[in-house]
């Protein structure tokens, strides 16, 4: 087990280093480099040269990389050109909102996907199974912003059941968990609905596999009701791969968060990234991109470790 953890951790570390290299290269792909981006409309050849000197951009690229990495290690992601604030403090205020949104979406998706998959796996190839599979297929292909827009149009604008967007009523500040939950329900449910499609589809297939295993016949033979056998044996085994799937879904989940936050004007990491991209605010863009990528790598690592804990067979593979 220790060997497995070590091996996977080292792999993830290499991946994180690779991610920093890619992000760094992206900074330097900018036409004229970062100094050009900082100067923006104030660009003159003279100013560019001076700023290049000041920022150390005349040094060789690999040296610049290590300087950048050293800053990064100290939690310095640079200053936002637009907000005139450190990127870290922008992220600090946006991150909790996104974590709430994404976390709630994952819970909702699992809460809906598991019963749905059980329902379908117990009646395979019936009309109800086909209808749900088709519905699932449409959700799988659904653009998040379409579903979100429709939800806003009918549930927020036409029927005032939910707020149109934001995390709190206009002007309000503070923790007010009730209001925050009320504001996050529509965006998180939108995200959950598109995420659940892939999961319940996968879970249905793995439940169908589990239902015909020998241990199910044994469980039924010793007198367990179908319900108990499904819950205690089939579901437990079928849920295992979902752990990995959760890890693999992280890039899509993060992408979904970006779009949902832009639909609902929800001030989280995705909104920050979106605004940054529209205003060419490169330190913000790269800071958020770096954090999102590192979060994906760590999430995948955690998923693999959880899987190894839950299923001892994997450790010896």
């Amino acid at each position: 087990m220790a060997g497995y953890i070590l091996r996977r951790s080292i792999q993830s570390l290499i991946t994180v280093v690779g991610v920093t290299v890619i992000v760094f290269v992206l900074v330097h792909l900018l036409p004229g480099g970062p100094a050009h981006a900082i100067l923006g409309a104030h660009y003159t050849a003279g100013k560019l040269k001076a700023l290049d000197q000041q920022l150390g951009l005349t040094k060789p690229a690999y040296l610049q990389y290590f300087v950048w990495l050293a800053h990064l290690a100290q939690g310095n992601l640079g200053y936002s050109y637009i907000h005139q604030l450190p990127v870290t403090s922008l992220i600090a205020s946006a991150l909790p909102n996104s974590v709430l949104l994404a976390g709630l979406a994952v819970l909702e998706a699992l809460f809906l996907a598991i019963p749905l998959a059980i329902f379908q796996a117990l009646r395979p190839k019936t009309l109800r199974d086909y209808v749900l599979t088709t519905l699932n297929f449409f959700l799988y292909s659904m653009p998040v912003f379409f579903l979100g827009s429709v939800a806003i149009l009918y549930l927020a604008v036409d029927h005032n059941i939910f707020p149109v967007g934001g995390v709190l009523p206009p002007g309000a500040t503070g923790l007010d968990l009730g209001e925050r939950l009320y504001h996050v329900i529509l965006p998180s449910t939108t995200l959950a609905l598109v995420q659940l499609a892939a999961w319940s589809r996968y879970l249905r297939a793995s439940l169908l596999d589990a239902l015909v295993q020998d241990y199910m016949r044994t469980a039924r033979a010793k007198g367990l009701s179908l319900r108990a056998a499904v819950r205690k044996h089939a579901l437990r085994n079928a849920l295992l791969p979902i752990i990995t799937l959760l890890g693999l879904s992280l890039p899509a989940l993060i992408g979904g968060v970006v779009v949902v936050e832009s639909v609902f004007d929800y001030p989280g990491m995705g909104y920050l990234l979106w605004q940054g991209a529209q205003q060419y605010d490169f330190p913000v863009i790269l800071g958020v991109a770096l954090l999102a990528s590192v979060a994906t790598v760590i999430g995948n690592l955690l998923a693999d470790l959880c899987y190894a804990i839950a299923d001892p067979r994997i450790r010896y593979a």
Binding site: P143, I152, L153, G255
Partner: protein
Amino acid sequence: MHRPADVDVEVGFSRPAGSGVMKRFMRNRSALLAVVVIVLIAGFSFLGPLVYRTGPNAVDPSSILAGPSSLHPLGTDGVGRDVLARLMFGGRISLIVGVLAAVLGVVTGMVYGAIAGVFGGIVDALLMRLADIVLSLPVLVLLIVLSAEFRPSELMMVVVIGLTTWPVPARLVRGETLSLMQREFVQAAHQMGARRGWTIFRHILPNTVGTIVVNATFQVADAILLIAYLSYLGLGIPPPAPTWGGILTDGLTYLYEGTWWLIWAPGLAILVTVVAFNYLGDALRDAFDLRFERAGRIV
């Protein structure tokens, strides 16, 4: 290399790649439906403007944000442009850019994966490590970064999407390559002194055609979705180009005017197109008798 015709059929457990695919595909009625839908969407986008002659950027100042009427069957947007016309031209962008981006991503990925599999060892380890790194980046975030740097033209969009979506086909093709490398005909070619480049293009890639075709179909669906996401976010092909995502953004801007047609028309267009390609991919996968599961949505 010359092959006598009578040994064309491989013996034993393996069928020649592609046998019976067409038959199985034609039997699948929902697959045919998907093909019909795709043909209809292509017809709507490419032939539609020949019949419906309103321009996508023609402004009708007398009807701004007008609902569907006989003059504008799908209404108009915030500056009085006809939504139906924009939908047709937006379809051209989605289909052309989507297909080309998918082709670029798949071709890059399959050559990459085959090289990794055929060379093996340290080359394989390094190449697949890089693929893992790119795969662990959230595609949409990467695309946002790239499109903030180069406001994408249609061509740039193809390149940018191709550059971010190659790892999935690369991994699939590498997996198949590794098992093909053990097969007699590849080993025989190797014994006869075939160079690796020859092996890749003559023996490996032709035998992964099923995987490639199926994956490419899914990639078209993903690319169309990604294009829509970027244009929705205002980071795609810049206005006044008519994009499906862009029309929907307009719909959200004028939400309080109750402009439902600006949301439903482009939203359904994207949904139906993506569903059709995903359905087609599933059906092709069944027809080729492949068993790879997708990890989930791209976004």
